[in-house]
Every structure is written in structure tokens, then in C-alpha cells.
Symmetry: D2
Amino acid sequence: MLNVAIVGASGYTGVELARLLSVHPGVSIACVTSQQSAGKPLSSVFPSLRGLVDLPCDPLDVELVCSKADLIFAALPHKTAMEVVPGFLAAGKKVVDLSADYRLQDQAVYEQWYQAHSSPELLAEAVYGLPELYRDRIKESRLVANPGCYPTSVAIALAPLLKADLIRPESLIIDSKSGTSGAGRSAKVGALFCEVNEAFKAYGVASHRHTPEIEQTLSAVAGTPVRVNFTPHLLPVSRGILSTCYADLRQGATSRDLHELFERTYADEPFVRVCEAGALPDVSFVRGSNFADVGLVVDSRTQRVIVVSAIDNLVKGAAGQAVQNMNLMMGFDEKDGLGVVPLFP
Amino acid sequence: MLNVAIVGASGYTGVELARLLSVHPGVSIACVTSQQSAGKPLSSVFPSLRGLVDLPCDPLDVELVCSKADLIFAALPHKTAMEVVPGFLAAGKKVVDLSADYRLQDQAVYEQWYQAHSSPELLAEAVYGLPELYRDRIKESRLVANPGCYPTSVAIALAPLLKADLIRPESLIIDSKSGTSGAGRSAKVGALFCEVNEAFKAYGVASHRHTPEIEQTLSAVAGTPVRVNFTPHLLPVSRGILSTCYADLRQGATSRDLHELFERTYADEPFVRVCEAGALPDVSFVRGSNFADVGLVVDSRTQRVIVVSAIDNLVKGAAGQAVQNMNLMMGFDEKDGLGVVPLFP
Amino acid sequence: MLNVAIVGASGYTGVELARLLSVHPGVSIACVTSQQSAGKPLSSVFPSLRGLVDLPCDPLDVELVCSKADLIFAALPHKTAMEVVPGFLAAGKKVVDLSADYRLQDQAVYEQWYQAHSSPELLAEAVYGLPELYRDRIKESRLVANPGCYPTSVAIALAPLLKADLIRPESLIIDSKSGTSGAGRSAKVGALFCEVNEAFKAYGVASHRHTPEIEQTLSAVAGTPVRVNFTPHLLPVSRGILSTCYADLRQGATSRDLHELFERTYADEPFVRVCEAGALPDVSFVRGSNFADVGLVVDSRTQRVIVVSAIDNLVKGAAGQAVQNMNLMMGFDEKDGLGVVPLFP
Amino acid sequence: MLNVAIVGASGYTGVELARLLSVHPGVSIACVTSQQSAGKPLSSVFPSLRGLVDLPCDPLDVELVCSKADLIFAALPHKTAMEVVPGFLAAGKKVVDLSADYRLQDQAVYEQWYQAHSSPELLAEAVYGLPELYRDRIKESRLVANPGCYPTSVAIALAPLLKADLIRPESLIIDSKSGTSGAGRSAKVGALFCEVNEAFKAYGVASHRHTPEIEQTLSAVAGTPVRVNFTPHLLPVSRGILSTCYADLRQGATSRDLHELFERTYADEPFVRVCEAGALPDVSFVRGSNFADVGLVVDSRTQRVIVVSAIDNLVKGAAGQAVQNMNLMMGFDEKDGLGVVPLFP
């Protein structure tokens, strides 16, 4: 059994990692950390885990964590992550970092959108943990930068079209909607029930930090610099991201043509489901699971394609993809611990 | 006091008309009709109205309605509406029709997206009831076609830019999200709580019937044929539409420039509120009111403008705008009966 | 016009007072205070009020408030309220206090459930602001203690039965469920969207501070000490309280008998609606309004009566009742400013 | 592998059975039936199952079902169930019936609350499938009547106290709240999103059909006839039942005493979790899982105990308990297929 640690276990990504890892056949949760709940069982923080993960929370101490675990999930805010990740690596551990700190390969871009980077030397080494694009490199890596939730939903929606050079990259418009767990579990007025319930708004318009991450991935796939409009919105649901992506087609194509392209592209992917022809995804169909569902429509009136993807932001958009990455890094079956059937309704 | 009728009172638009009209200073609700609830007080159907609108429901009988009321709100499905509206007019009544039946001026377009039209001779006479664009014509009309909810939210968002010729019309992409009351009150599995709650999806992609209505209005404003991508989504909230509209700017413009344009355009409009500079709307800030809130951001990286508008689909998107139209048609103060302050939270 | 102040305007009770008072025919909102938003327009804090209440927030300064207003709504937490209320009174102002600080007449009881009281001399003078029970005394008062939300819902449900001595007071069990706005607008993990959405729990079981307030009112009505079981629960809705009250009947009575008793008792009350015989309330039927809806069923198998009441916790349970009290104190029509029709759906 | 059938697969209980059984190690889903979706893959009805349960739906034909499966889950409405269950048994199949048709042992009681019974001879044979009370009999049975959702939540909450004779049975008051999936998946206005969202009401007061089922179970445990007040309410959540149960204590007892009793009683139960001392359940902590969480408080002021239990109505309240029963009937490990960790948030 592989001993793993969940660093930052009292957030929503933390509890989600605990949910998935507690039933992983090859893994033992050996350490969970939480600054504010140190000493308390994780199941006191999250009674959903009662009887399942009753381990007491440790403080965030690099040495302590390294003494208990061989692979570490860092579920910390950006900036906090890069304060501890180099230490984990120095102790010979493998790391799946769920923050943004090692996702952007270009230090300058990182520092423009975030802040100064304290371990830029690791940027070249870190592998962007999107198995559908970088499976082989992930297998070899000791530091995987787990993708952001929005960028995951967008990459899966658009990669097939960009790879096949079927759309004009400069025309890309991405209108995304995320459930509120994406805002984290810290106490903020803006995330209160009464502020989010029966509400809906755009936020971070033309300024959201996932923009450069999306552009980095799409540019790599397209083989040319891609610049997008990305507009996130806050959905009054707990889980789920739906991204509606618009692009001008380079030349005539039918919904059927592109549907077949998607089916071919994702035929062997264990966690990407192409919707039935004519159907589109709903976030409620992936809830709790590691699936990314994707569907599309060609609008023949405007010669645009509309691709819609849905993921559970806490699973394929965070903890599930992190487990998938661990599976690849450690040589487990890629699906281990990820057999959760979506919960509907 | 003007005697009015609400025809089709047992739907969500019907109860909303009753809510607004019951406190209108110049109006008396003289007749409400409901086929399935004929004989029962409207307040039995909607106990929210108990003590306020206890009038019994009549069956839908043109003669009966005309004997009781001088202005008629037709809150019926399309097709059913055009079966009765000509009769109301023939009896000398004024009509605000909340269906789609008289919104499209071009019979061929109507018949392409809906079905054969049984009173096409009224299409030329009917006035599209968007006061922000057609106030003067509404005042003179005896038949107002009350705009669709999505088209209202889009017209208010885009008219200032199209009028000023600041955007390229062929670039328009409209990503809209509507609360579930827009789906009506008939029993359908797709509108059940468990299907909508914690869910989110696009629907009617590249095929929604509000598309030609949006294009008709935007084309008229632009003075040139406009074709758009319009993608509606179903929000797990009861009320509210948020439309996120994307357009390529013809030339450099800042957020501030365009914000000032919107403020000028809507300075005298009683129900359009331009958000504070830098702020964007939220459907929760217009709930229950006739306001349309609008805000925008210019993305200097892509030279696109993103305009976001929010309305309550049942008020400015239906019943409230209908009352506003009645006020104009009858010479009431345009704001009468529409003083509801948004309900937050 | 009466100049009024809303002290503590940036909470949910504050915005609700602003919503109601902004359309009150006899009142001008002359002052709003907020410590954290001082200097900003109230409509920046709550964009729902844009164009309606754009007044900038003042800091909470007794002298300043008194220089602007003649009647003050104190929408502050308990303890903070009693720090300023005596100053308002000393300056000759009238006060409607929405906190718990002046609700309990017995200082010892207050101090057992809350903390030491700093102005106990006002307890005897303060009038408990439940117009259905204390209308005449409220009219004469300069300090009204606005009732708690739960106690309001319970008093209206049970007073007719206790007055008529039809139930055994020692058998009373009150199972209440409240929307989340009752938890206030301060940032707390427990009130985050993701903690409340799709969740439901009891809290404060056998220990909630509204218990002595409920018992004080019911004891006064019954003319004998009443002790109850009161169990509040947290509902995943923004607004609304539903209280389900159980009591043993002293002797045989039918649902019809008791329904008639309620109809008689509340025949002249402007804001209490007795449901149709056989019907029961739903919080969605009072949303946004000052109504308290009440219905009942006698269970002949167990000889118990179940009374169910519904209010909007922010209106009849807080701001609306406060306006109703002001109307009584100032000689306005009791319904002024309270004509909001419930918003359904 | 055991071949099983899900009869009535297009309802919420059906999809839930499919979710659980699709990952059961000893079972193969050999047949799913749906009258309205016959011929379509179950994953077309529920895209959450895409790639997991793509089996086409059969019509409801007893012979056909019996030719494919050896154990049958009947997820049909009452009355429809008893039309087919005898046929399954006659063909030598085992049946877990999720309807109410075989839950009440007394035919007269069944017929008083439901309708005439067409196979009363099976009532004596059917075993009430609550493993916590009837594990041994379930193991021997070929017909298990799977308990109702409310009765399950109540039995687990009250059995320990009644068994130990610590409470007065005639004092029992049960105030239950259920998520909307309990209302089923047929199209009804009352279950529409806009009718349930932001709403809350009691229903079936003093008349709900689960009352005799609750009383049958509690009477058996208590060894004396028990009559209760049972009041169900409709919660605006998809899943979950919380029951708040009140009873007079026969003699002094502390929360700690009773907490220890519950811990002892349920120490070996795989799916009952007694909350930490002082804590109470929340429906969000059992979502998607087969757990029943239970907690309690003694109110020393009134000498009553308040017991609160939470289950997922579709799992422990329906499909999960059905799988648990199948495991017992077939000699599988009782936990097989039921390892789902609760999904929070």
C-alpha cells in the first residue's frame, strides 16, 4: 500500500481527496493536515467521513508529512503551495500539486497573473497533469501540476478541433459556469448561501487567472499562440462546471463530422464521454464522478461550432484528476479509486 | 379604473400579472381565466394571492372576457393566443399579447420557426412592445406583442453599441441563462425539481425560437441584417435571465467610453439601470422588479466587448413589461404598478 | 415626512428595512449606518437598491444618527444594540429595536440566556412588538422590542388555542425550520452556500435563545407558565420560517371547530391569513410579504392538534413587523409600506 | 454472477438501483424495464449512466423478466407491484419489492390506507426488510418488502429507546422532512422546480400512508401497540430525509446515557453511524451513501428526548437498503456494492 498525505485537508478539495482515496485499493491515507483543525479527526471536520477517515489532522509541517507519506497531494492555495512543495521533493517524495503554482511554464506569465515565484527552477520539470494530453510525461514525473478546473473543462472541449486545425483560434470565446465549491471553503460574504442562492453573475471578466493557463494548453495543442475570451460565472449549485465554447469553423463541417472526430479522439479515454449525437452534457450527469462529458452542435447559419463540456469541478476538475495522475505516476491502473458512478439526481 | 383581464392566469406569467396588477392604482382585475381551474378562486390556485385576488377563474371564452374587460393580457402559449386575440380586437378591446404570435413581422419567418399563422393580417399592425425602442408606437397601438424574455435581455444589452455602430454585427455571440420559470407551469419531467436542481445545461442550441426575434430587433437597430449565435441555458433558480454578449469592437474603445455611452443612452429610462463602472449585474439584484441591469467590460487583449444584462424573466421579461406597455397604451404613468423594489436576498 | 434611520444597514435585516421603507408614503430614509461600509452608498453594498437608496453609509455614531432621524430602527446584534439604544432614547428619539436586548422582561432570564444587561431599567418600559397581541401598548411606546422571527411564527400559531384554553400547555412541541438569511450576513463557514445547499439539520436543540422568548409570550397568553420543546432547523432557502406545532387537545375538537376559531381570532388582522379549510401554509406563499399564514389539522387518532404557520423571516419576522410597529407608534396606517404582494414563484 | 432485473428502471429508485448494482462485485444487471422508454438504452433515459449501463429497456413482461434474471428488484408504484410480484415468485425468483404492497402484515390495515390487496396470501410470508431489526429472517426470505423511506429513518431513531422501554410510546411525535426525489419522477405540477425551490411545507398531515408502517414497526419493537403523530414535510433538496422525533422519558436520563445506549445498540451495524456525542446528523453527510446517521439530545427542562436521524431517501431509504437485503438473501457480504462514501459538499 502506498502511503499518501493530503496536505490542506479541511478544504473542499481536501475532503474530496479523502472521499476518493479512502476507497482506493492501492493507497493508505497516512497523513492529513489542517492548520485550523490540527488535533481533530478529519471526520469531526467533515462528518460525512465518520467511520471512514477518522485520522486526526496534523499541522502543516514538511518534515512530519514526509515521515508519514511517500506521495503528497498538496491541496493548498497558490503561494502557500510553493512554500512546501520544494521541501517534499527534496525529501524524495512525489507530489501532485493542486494549486496554480506549477501550472504555468513561463515564469513571467505566472508572475504577471499571480505573484513572484519562489521556486521557478521547478517550472520546467513540473508536468501539466492533463492525462488526455500528457499521459506519458505524467508517468515519468515526480511533480505534477494538477490542472485548474476551468482549464480542464476547456481543454477537453477544444483540443480535438485545434489539433485537427478545424477552427480559427482567434475566434475562440469560452463562456464557463462553475458551481460554488470552486470558491473554496473559507468564510467570505460572497460565498454565503444567501448571496449565491437564486443568484447568477459573471465574475473575473477579462481578468480571471485561469485565462493564461487555458491559453498555454490550447496554444500547445494548436501549435500557435492562442488568445481567448474567457468568462466565468458563478452557478448556484455545489458542484459542476459547464463550459460553452464558440469558434468559427475554417470550412464547412456538419455536427456529425465533428461528433465522429470527438468519438475517435476520445475512444480510448477512460474518463471522457462523448454525448450521444444530438445530445449535450449537463453537470448533473457527472456529479461525483471523474467523467468529462462533451457534446457539440454546428450552427450552419453562422458557420460556428458550439462545444459544451461538463465536469465535476471537485473531481475531474481537482481531486479526481489528481488521483488519476497519481495512478499514472505510481503505475496503478488509471481508473483505480475512480469508479464512482455519477449521482443522479 | 380600467377593467383588465388576465387570460391564462394559472401559469407563472398569469400569477405575476395578478401580483403586479393587484396593486396598480389605475386598474381593476375584472376577469381571470383558466381552463383547468375554472370556477376556483385564483387564490386557490396560488395561495400567495389569498386575500388579494380571490376572483374565481372563468373559462377562456372570448365573449365573456370582452364583457368584463377593456384591456386584455393574453398570457397563453403561442398558437392558442392567435386563436383568441383577433376576437378581442374585433370587440374593440386593447390587447397585450405575451405569446410569440405577433412578435415577428415577417410571416414567413414566423411560419419557419413556429407554424402556420392564422391572422397574418395583424402582423403589420402589432407593435413590438419594447418601450426602450418603440415607446411612441406602443402609445398608439391597440395590439402590443410583448417581447420574449431572452430578446428583451439581449436588446437592452446590445442596442446602444449597434446604434452607435461600434461593433461588428457578424461577430455577435449571445450566451444566455434563464431561470426555470421560463419553462412554464405545465407538468413536464424536464422541469421537475430533481431534474433542474444541482443541474445546468445548454438547450435549443442553434435552434431556439427566440433567435429570429433577437435578430429582428438587432437588425432594426443596426440598420442591417444581423445574424447571431444564441445559446440558452437552464439555471437552477426560479427567476432571472442573465445574458453574456460578446462582440468584436470596430475600433479601440475603453470600458469607460462604453460605460458612458450606456449611461447616456439609458439616462431617462425608468427601468434600465447601468451598473456602477466596473460592476456587473446579478440576477439576484433585479428579482421581482421590472429593472434591466446592464454592465460591460472591454477586453483589450482581444478587442472584444462583453456586455452582461440581467432581468427578472417574469417581470421585465414578461408581466412587468406587459404592464409597462399597458401604461403606455392607456396613458398611465409608465411606472404605475411597477414600483416593486428588488427582493434581496 | 418622518425621518428615519436604519442602524446596521449592511445586514440582511438592514437591506430589508431599506427595501420596505424606500416605498413607505410617510417616511424618508435619512440615515443608514454600517461600520464596514462607511462612506459607501448603501446601493454599492446592495446593488438591488441602485437608484432607490443611494444614500452613503454613516459610521455608527449616536449623535450623528440623532441629528438626522426621529425614529431609529436598530438592526444590530444583541449586546451591540443595548450599547446605543439608551442614547437614542435619551435624545428623545423613538426606537424599534430588532435585537433581542429588550424582548425579555425578566432581567435574570435575559442574563441566563444572553449576557449581563447594561440597561435593565428599560426592560419594563420596552413593549414587545407583536401587534396581534400588544397593538395598543405599541401605539403608546417609545421603545419597541421587535420580536424574534421564530417567536413571531409560534405566537401567531398558538395564541388562539392557549387563549381559549383548548390545549395542554405542558404538551407543546414546536418544530421550526428557518431559511438561511436568519443566520445573518457575516462570513461564517457554516453559512456558506456549499454547507447549506442540499443540506438540512437541526441546531440549537434544547438550547436556542428564542426558547425563553417563546415561553414568555405563550405564558402571558395562557395566563400560566408555559414550557416548550423548541427545535429549530436550517432550511436551504433564503427566506421563510415554517413552524409545525403539536399540542394535546384538552377535549374533543374537530379541524373545522379550530379553523373557525382561527378565522374569528384573526378576522380583523391585516397581516394574518388563515388558510382555506384543509389547506396548510408554504413559506413560498408569503415570500417578501408581511403575511403570517396559518393552518391546522386535528389528528383524531391521537387527539392532538397540529398547527402550521409560515412567515418570511425577514419581513413579518423582522423588518416588516418593525415597519408595522413604527406605523402604530407614529399613527400611520398600519399597512403603510407593507403592501408587497408575495412573490411566487 | 447473479443476474438481476430492475423492474421500473426509469424512476429515481430505478436509476439509483442501477448506480449501485453496476459496481456490485457479484451481480450482473441482466434486465431493466420501463414502459415509456422500452427499446431505449437506460443510459439514454439517464445519461449519468452512459458507458456504465447501456442496456436497452424492456417492456414490463413477467415472463421476459424471469427469463433473464434470478432476483428481481420491483421499483414500481404500489398496486402495480402486486400485479407482477406473485408471477416472479411463481417462476421461482427471489424478489425485493420496493413498493408498499407487502410491507403491512395486516391486510385490513393495508386496505384501509391503500386499496384492495390482490395477493394477501403473501403478506404473511413477506419479510420486512429492515436488516437492523430483521436480519435473520431476511436471509431466509424469497420476498422482502423493502421499507419505506420515512419508516426506515424513524425505526432506526426510535428502536433502541422503545426496546429499552425508556420512553412513553403514546407521547411519540415524529416530524420528518424529505427531499423531493421521494415524490418520484412522474410529471406533476407540485414537483416542478418552481413549486419546490425556495418553498417548504407540511403535507399529508395526520394522513400519510407511512403512518401505519411506522406504527407496525414501532409496535413490534415496543411489544405494545404504538400510535404516533407523523408529519412529513417537503424539502427543497434532491435527496435526504431528516426525522426529528420527540418522546417523553419515563424517568431521568442524560444525553450521555442515551448516547451510550445508541452506541451499544448499533456497534456492529455496518450502516448506522451514531454521531459524536453532542453532534446531530445532517442529510448532507449521508448523501449518496447507505448510512443512517443518528444523534440525540435530552432536554432536561421538559424531560423529553429528541432523536434526530438522517438518511439518503434513495439509498438507505430505498435502493441501498434493497441491495443490502439482496446481499443478505443471497449470502453476499452485506456491504457489497454499498461502499459509496457520502458526497460532501
